[in-house]
Amino acid sequence: MQQRACGLGAAMLLQALLGCQPPKPIGQVVVASRGNLDSVDPVDITSFAGAQLLSAIGDPLYASDASGGLHPHLATALPILSADGLTARIPLRRGVRFHDGTPFNAAALVFSLERFRALGKQSYLLDDRITGMRVRGPYELELRLKRPYSSLAALLSSSNLTPVSPTAYRSHRRSSLRNRFVGTGPYRLVNSSPQNTTLEPFAGYWGPAARNRGIHLITLSNSTALYGALLSGEVDVLLSQGLDSDQQRALAARTDRGLLRQGIGPAVEIGYLTLLSDRAPLDQPDLRQAIALSLDRRLISERVSYGMRMPLRSLIPPPLTGALPPSWPGYNPQRARQLLQRAGYCQGRRLSLPLTVRSNVPSDRLFGLTWQAQLQRDLNDCLSLEISGVESTAAYRQLDKGVFPLILLDWAGDYPAPDVYLTPLLSCSRGIGERCLEGSSVSFGSFWTAPGLQQQLEKSEGLDGQARTRLLLEIQRRTARGGAYIPVWQVAPRAWTRPGLSTPQFDGSGRVLLQALSTHP
């Protein structure tokens, strides 16, 4: 009798546990992604998850859209440049208030930018471009630039440069405030922990009100959990970062059946191969060209990501200026064979190349295996790959030591501008001929440069319009001929929503516009 009562009690408890899902507050949206949030202070944030949060609780001076356009946001016009291009005036919006009621003005903006320069982990964003700033009027900021920079508005669209309230951060002028944020964005931060952040619409927001009643940003540690959480209804929106290709494909298939809604943002991440150009055997330009020609991007994209990582033959992802037409040659195994033969391979002698992939990035290994098999099919007597894996942080540490003859890496610009893709990979402050001795090209492991390339890079940063596009394309054509970098694919962020929610929309930096998620689509 007693045993029966115990069993009945246990069954009832289990029933209560399984059947008792807490009700979801109406109008609130749960958004899931991978990657923890260690701090909500713009000076600390370096991750995509952090930038996604900042885009909801903060406001940049300029907003970028998914088609590559830039629009004044907290500014009221694009930067007004002096004749020499070294001073920029930025008129600011009036009537904006921070979440704590402090009025937004030029002084508050200078406070925020100076704080970022002093504390920011990415302070180089400003330090590389700006020598100083001052309040020119209550609602006008003046920036002094190191050299003319046509992507200034894009730089100021970076979420890390979002203004913060001078009142709230007065005692944190020289230290970060990791779990509190007071900005001007459409949402107010209610609370934040590494795994769960709650936002509520800011009633005093100057712009269009958020189309939902609040956001819960949660992080889960693995892709199965993320995928499962969306399917089971535990979360309403799922971001693609950290999600396996198989799962992304399954979600896309569900979208096709009308079970989910899918949004695709602009590609902000590129995958590329770096070739160690100053040491044998890849110091021979013909060999580097042959490798570029041997890569069947379409096949690899299909096998690795079901075509979701789109083939890329430019170091700049579309739709940014200078991305099209592509500068790198397409797949041409016959031409690759000719070049390899000219270099003394194929006639009983096979070039065996060590390809390094990051062992903690699943798509890297798949890329390596697919390319290896493709080369076996196309150029088995000429070229083969030996794949080895290195954990990403260990790989980054050793790039400038020149230990990787051929390595697959990725790159995402800090803001949507063509130079943030070209300059880091190609910049070289000291070089001899085609060998870079000092500069970013060394840090990225290619050690490649070309006479006059640095000057062209610097000149392109100051140009605008067609002149800039022409120069960007010329730089890329030279880089393609040099063959020290080979673009492979571009990664566009995706997001899925459950029925009852609107289709996710993205900004130009690949972040979901959380305020546009409507519960009444």
């Binding site: 990415q122 180089y124 590494p194 889960l220 290195v390 942080t393």
Partner: protein, 339 residues
């Protein structure tokens, strides 16, 4: 010398070794982290930052100082009970541990409870008929659960009960849309104390899958240990003597054999508790359970030296404390033990 004096001498000896052991562990972790490839700057900034910015951040975090100086500062802080600040967000490591340790302990204790109840029940079930069907099933259960790879088992359980059936949450410790209980950091305890049934049920729902999986995986050890020790006890002379005095089989088993068979199980429990304090890494990672093991795994990925060092030292100290306690308990319960 009296037994009490022996015990005190034994305990003093064990406790005197604790600081040496902790110093060795702390130094080893410090050294291994620096020897391992990669550094925090790469983990924080990737390849994106220019050399000057990387150097500035390295200086800001004190990583440009000679290794011996860094080691000296580390030991000095440790002696003053300070574990330093996280490199990623400058949060004190004590606060990181204070937030994540209760989560691991809660998971570990509930898992242990599940493991002990189910494992001992299974181990006990085959006693009546050795080599019978039930005994064979108990053996298979013990070996099977012990041999299951934790990561795989956790994924399958998660897939079936959370994704396919949708009965329980896939991960995390509490629903995003509810305010978590505040207080000690033990959600079950806090929600019980506050009398909030919604929080209690929500905490239990989130705990059930990770604790159940971990409990299932550990239960085989208990089942096998009890089964073997109970068999041995039932074959012993004192049980034979009890039977010959005409005692019922129930009294023989429960009153004579079981208490003796449980002593080695107590030692196993101690070892299990000690290992669970550090968290069950794969379970915590699979279920996004924000415990110390989960945090440790993140910190290793970020090369967050102070967090890794802090967690390892605190967990090592707790493991040592638990093992001393278990030794003491076994010694007190078992009069045959000599010091």
């Amino acid at each position: 010398m009296s037994r009490r004096r022996h015990l005190i001498r034994y305990l003093t000896g064990r406790l005197a070794l604790v600081p040496v052991m902790l110093w060795l562990i702390a130094s080893l972790v410090f050294l291994l982290l620096r020897v391992a490839p990669g550094d925090p700057i790469d983990a924080l900034l990737g390849t994106r930052a220019p050399q000057a910015a990387r150097a500035a951040l390295r200086h800001q975090l004190g990583l440009d100082q000679p290794l011996l100086v860094q080691y000296g500062h580390y030991l000095q802080d440790l002696l003053h009970g300070q574990l330093g600040n996280s490199l990623t967000n400058q949060e004190p490591v004590t606060s990181v541990i204070g937030r994540s340790l209760p989560a691991s302990l809660e998971l570990g204790l509930v898992a242990l409870l599940i493991a002990a109840i189910s494992g001992l029940a299974v181990g006990f079930s085959g006693v009546a008929r050795p080599e019978g069907r039930l005994d064979l099933a108990a053996r298979l259960y013990g070996i099977g659960t012990y041999a299951l790879p934790p990561f795989w088992a956790a994924m399958v359980v998660q897939l079936v009960f959370a994704v396919w059936l949708g009965w329980l949450p896939v991960g995390g410790r509490f629903p995003a849309t509810l305010e978590p209980p505040s207080g000690s950091g033990f959600y079950l305890l806090d929600s019980l104390l506050s009398g909030n049934s919604t929080q209690l049920l929500a905490s239990l729902r989130h705990l059930l899958l990770p604790a159940g999986t971990l409990g299932l995986l550990l239960s085989g050890v208990f089942a096998n240990a009890l089964r073997l020790n109970l068999r041995r006890a039932l074959d012993s002379d004192y049980v034979e003597a009890a039977r010959s005095r005409g005692l019922s089989e129930r009294r023989v088993v429960l009153g004579h054999a079981l208490p003796n068979a449980l002593l080695p199980v107590l030692t196993i429990t101690g070892i299990t508790v000690a290992s669970l304090i550090g968290g069950a890494l794969l379970i915590e990672v699979t279920y996004s359970w924000p415990g110390v093991a989960f945090r440790l795994q993140e910190a290793i990925g970020q090369r967050d030296y102070p967090v890794v060092q802090g967690i390892v030292v605190v967990v090592a100290a707790l493991v040592v404390a638990v093992s001393v306690l278990v030794d003491l308990l076994v010694a007190l319960l078992d009069p045959r033990i000599r010091f």
